[in-house]
Amino acid sequence: MKDIKIEGSPKTPIIEFNPSTGYLLVRGRSIPENSIDFYKSLIDALEAYNINSQPDTKVDIQLEYFNTSSSKCILDVFKKLEVINSGGSNVVINWYYEEDDEDMLEAGEDYQAIINVPFKMIEVEEK
């Protein structure tokens, strides 16, 4: 399986996924007009990963902003992780939010309520 390495842009986040270590990072801004196209490669990669997953899968989500179009795609990513978690891998999702950013904390809690995967809320200092 191939790694995914997508560089960040003003409207899209950095995405790094390494199937041989079971590590996924999404960091930056996710505000593309069409997020379905952007997230497709990651969703496909997670689907392939589920067939041959690592015992542990660690996910770091460090988003500064995301639009509602991305919010559906992020949910799709989490739903793939939910399947992986109920299969052969223990998944942990770390949701980072800056102190004072109640909106980002609430967004994490929304996902936590929908998705059946261990979710950790991690507060970080403002940049």
């Binding site: 003003p10 007009e33 639009n67 509602t68 179009s69 949910l75 004072d100 909106d103």
Partner: protein
């Protein structure tokens, strides 16, 4: 040429920070967001307000973009045109948008906005989760979440108005105030 001066004074009096009228494209969105970001940087806003305003801006502009993009191309040309303004008055930000919509869409949009305006914070949270989890996404990536998200983040009721343009068109005005 007196009009330009009047125009300037009106905008100055209205505390308009930025305004745009015309077709909303992806590149334009990127530019407006960059301009607003650097403006808020120089105004030394708190990170919390900066993020809220930026988030709401993104949703408002993308609403305009998706709306225009999905419209029937056979309709009048001015339907592609939208108005966007942002103002800061007494420390409070307002984001205003205006665009043409077809008469057939007025009732459903009004119904959606009224439904959102009747909800309190917790109801909006539940409604957001419901639409996020069950709602269908359009081919362009709009998911019906935009207005709910704007209402949640702004913390205020969505102010809107429809003006009749002709037998088939209305002008839809939306004013989003951002709670401090």
């Amino acid at each position: 040429m007196d009009n330009i001066h009047d125009f300037y004074n009106k905008m100055e009096k209205g505390n308009i920070m930025l305004s745009f009228k015309g077709e909303v494209t992806s590149d334009l969105l990127t530019s407006i967001l960059q301009i607003m970001e650097s403006k808020m940087e120089t105004l030394d806003e708190s990170p919390k307000i900066k993020k809220k305003v930026y988030n709401i801006l993104v949703e408002c502009l993308q609403n305009l973009y998706h709306h225009i993009d999905e419209d029937d191309v056979s309709t009048i040309i001015k339907e592609n045109s939208a108005l966007f303004m942002i103002k800061k008055e007494d420390g409070e930000y307002s984001i205003m948008t205006g665009n043409f919509i077809t008469k057939d869409n007025v009732d459903s949009l009004k119904h959606r906005l009224d439904k959102i305006n009747q909800m309190d914070k917790d109801e909006l949270k539940d409604y957001y989760k419901e639409v996020l989890n069950n709602g269908e996404m359009s081919a362009k990536g709009g998911g019906g979440l935009g207005m709910i998200d704007i209402a949640r983040k702004s913390g205020k009721k969505l102010e809107y108005h429809f003006d009749k343009v002709d037998d088939y068109h209305y002008f839809f005005s939306l004013n989003i105030k951002v709670a401090q």
